[in-house]
Symmetry: D3
Subunit: 242 residues, 6 copies
């Protein structure tokens, strides 16, 4: 089984971190392909970055399918482009936020997501509602620029820990979801430290991908995720028409 992980931002160190997390949980026999988008923002912080990452993300998925992958993981906690990718691809596509929230839901009744910036907090809170987790998941921002997670001395870990402690204390959180792909390397350590489940979205999504493939399940092509209709695309997007 081959699972393609696409990092929709252009920062290769984040891709590598995601690939390490993915390989750590993948079943024997699962091959992890990791790709970094080649067009778009260096990090995804808010709606504009997320929108402008889409062409690069979707073309990486298209290329990955041509290479023969069995499932795709979009390595961004905002689940940017997830619906479009499901319409485009013939193989299953997983996002981090949906996968992590569902995973948390099997382990705890109430839990908190800790993400990076305030601008991402409401975005993720809206995703939680969309996924039916409105009453179970609280979302918090630790005020960490995404790329600070790539730099050990940036103070990012300390801010994250402080916010997790507030979630445990003020929210009564029974589990913690790490709300950024760039936190994938921290889950085990934080779980050990706090004694509650700490869920990393990359790991969660990879296992969901494996689960779907093992069951012989693919995205429904009936209604919402029907394959894009053939039509002309103009300008810089002309090469990307369905």
């Amino acid at each position: 089984m081959r699972i393609l992980i696409v990092n929709p931002n252009t920062t290769a160190s984040m891709t590598e971190k995601a690939a390490i997390a993915a390989r750590a949980v993948a079943a024997p026999g699962t091959e992890i392909l990791a790709r970094t988008s080649t067009m778009g923002p260096a990090s995804i912080e808010g709606y504009y970055d997320g929108a402008m990452a889409l062409p690069g993300l979707l073309q990486a998925i298209r290329a990955g399918e041509a290479e023969g992958c069995d499932a795709v993981v979009i390595a961004c906690f905002d689940d940017t482009g997830l619906d479009a990718a499901r319409a485009l691809a013939s193989v299953p596509v997983l996002g981090l936020c949906g996968s992590a929230l569902m995973t948390a839901g099997f382990l705890a009744q109430r839990f908190s997501v800790v993400t990076t910036l305030e601008r991402s907090r409401v975005l993720i809170d809206n995703l939680a509602r969309h996924y039916g987790m409105a009453g179970r998941a609280r979302v918090r921002a630790a005020d960490i620029p995404v790329l600070d997670l790539e730099h050990p001395g940036s103070g990012a870990l300390e801010r994250l820990q402080a916010e997790i402690e507030r979630a445990l204390d003020e929210d009564g959180a029974e589990a913690i979801v790490l709300g950024c792909a760039g936190m994938a390397d921290l889950a085990a350590r934080l779980q050990g430290q706090y004694g509650v489940p700490v869920i990393d979205g990359v790991s969660a999504a990879v296992k969901q991908a494996e689960a779907l493939v093992a069951q012989g399940l693919k995205t429904s092509k009936r209604s919402a995720y029907a394959a894009p209709l053939a039509k002309s695309y103009l300008g810089a997007m002309a090469a990307f028409s369905p």
Copy 2:
């Protein structure tokens, strides 16, 4: 006051139709600028088209702001790119779906949206939930390819009428929302025919834009719609970095 209408697909006849609808309702003194995206799909039918329309849409908005517009309307009923545009722009941005649903909500307690294709039905139903209209709005698809709305003899009007009649009969709809920018020219006629309010999203959004500008209101830049952070964008998106 100058309101910029951006058609996120590349079909100029749809832009023109939207501009006519906009000018028909605009207040004296409001100038309507209408722009057609120059990169992306010829019509937006489903999630993939919607995603690939974003760079063209967002750059048209950026250009429009540079020209001095006071508000922006995204002329697509899927509200594609709306959150990204609100983060990008310093002026208010309106979508058709949100504007039309709110307008319907001032006139009726229960109403139905009639859109084009089945693949757009669930997408719009999800928007209705997101906007808090889940219990009030039903969404129906009339099985009309978007560009058929540009061709009088295509049978599109007859299908739309048949679906409106089902909405009135089966849903108890008190009002009808036309769920595609390409239906903007049909609202008055259908309202006359059926005797219930028939709402066109372009008209609704233009009036909301005027309303916000008249009140001196702009998109909040606190939290969710904070201005994009300066950062490098790679590849074909490099020119579009914030």
Copy 3:
């Protein structure tokens, strides 16, 4: 275009304040008629005042329609009598709360309403749920008797400011809605002070009224808002039978 603003309480200074706010945002060519109810409470603070204001409010609307108005605004943030007025009138009717919440929803994802007394807080919170804004709008009371807003030295402004500051700090509010018609004169000043959108319900409702009239839209008379049936009314209400 003539828009009738009816103040459902009997305090003329509040009517005048609403009229000034209305005229400040009205389009050229819109005439604002402002009427003060002649029977009922001097201010609306809670459910009983709101109920006893209805005959005076509804008869003022009936009289206003006979004078030839094109739309009606009920100048009370409780939206008291709104459904009855929509059933009664043939022209569109707007309330402050619904109009202001929808307006805020175009500018911000999460926002707070600051109203006067604690007894109005839950009432408005129930309206926010009814309008589908439960997850987006927080409601707060600043402990201000309504008529204190008519008296500059009453300390009302200071209490309002303190509550807005709590909303920004504790709720993460991206915008503020002023939850009383008597605050209409404060919006611009507070928006300047706090740097987030501050929405006044009178202004919002007037612009919604204009928007509906410009679009040729009226309240649906199918189902919920069907015109009252002819029937006898007894006693003090005999003169007000449909």
Copy 4:
């Protein structure tokens, strides 16, 4: 114990029917006082009738409290004036809709309300949402003018039966709630006929009133239902100031 039943319309035969239903379920020692409003509409069909019934209703409640009643039932399925009455009265106040829906909820997981006119259907559906029963209760209209229920040969019973049969067949209803005070005399017969619980709102509300009094419980006067503040009321409402 004395329970006051106020019919907010002016039709004495409906009051009498409610009183008979109330006495049939009242505990030994409970005295039922039944009063007909003396000002307002002959029947409540839609929002305008409901609004114009309020002064008569609220003054009858005030008079009833002065006579020494222990609880109040508002004998209209629209729960018109319920919140205002709870603010006004010092004794508990029950409405038919809330009481009947809660009663049905103890007997069945999914049930249907059958009311009179289409214009009341959405109004009651909104009440069901407000009371937290949105996913459990379906509301249907049998197209019966309210006062036809006072006339045996009007065909009203047959229409009601036909609609109940549709509810059982199409909704999978496990119980039926009769959605008008004027149907109070039909519950036992219909329950016998259909073999599912058939709930009458008058009976349900009377028993809730007894239950609250027996427990020594009164409406909370903290926040939403705080007693009306003393203030001047003008015009025809002057006599009704708090």
Copy 5:
């Protein structure tokens, strides 16, 4: 009328306390039968205790029906076994949580439940959602082991009072629901102390039971609560087959 109260834990002093509360509110002519489960846990604190209490609870209900009771109250605030009991019994069955929340809903718009242990807090919060009270009821735990409520010097009352004070202060609670059957003896005292309605679930459920019986209403046997189908049960459960 005979109402059977079954305490699903095996602690007779809690049964006795519930019986006293029940008799204090029962109508003249209502006989209260109180039974203590003879198999299962000494107290119900969390899901496992609740599950293991079911066979004892359900067999006590079956025996009670054979004795001729007219309705059943399950004297545990978790409403454990309520749906199974409704399917099993031919008479109405009430739980404390559902009964108390509905009772509170007739008296207040927002209220708080104060229960014993943190492990019960989320369980009850989930019940509140299930009953449609998600937006109205807050649930708090006072950190009291259930059986401490049987021991006056345990400090339980003081903890309960402290938590009620937090609910009044922080939640704006308009009423308090006592979230454990073992608190039944404290309601009157606390209501006197705090001046807001304080609701005991045992009392509330007994009055609901009386109300249903007086109305001639029984659990619907259509769909969800259909009588168990005859089938073989194995092992220790063999004697309990339907």
Copy 6:
């Protein structure tokens, strides 16, 4: 990795069918242990069967943990005992309904569950709400006694197919969830027949169990799922005290 599948009914052929489905999707290296409850009902059809299955189910789980399993699957679509099992066990516990609904949610926006009997339909619909899938999942009953699924000539398959066809036609279902453990052998065939994803709960739950174990995640023991407190259990349950 060892996954314990517990069939909470006492019918060994259903256990065997579940084990076959489980082994078909399990990763290399995963050992499937399948156990049949030895006390309780032969099939679970409605709430009473579900309640009386709990002691047998929970003791099988306790025994399985003692044998060294890494995760548990409760092989019943009602998710009976799931919360109690999570509190009891130290390893993760999965139910079929939750697992299948989440799996469907990764593949489709709207889908339908087809279960056996009408009495199970509302029960599962309530689960869907509890899991946040209220607006996405429709539940249907095909009128099939559970044990008919064990008998090829019973007509069960035909009824199931007919109901699936109604779901596709009337609900616009994009995927189908099989709502009974006894249907586990039919998923592949029906997926082939209808061309939409068909999800079996046993398979889905086994893969979720593997996913959690691979990520090093266990049920949170903070708050709702805290380990049962030591206490005495009486009577037939004495041996099962925590």
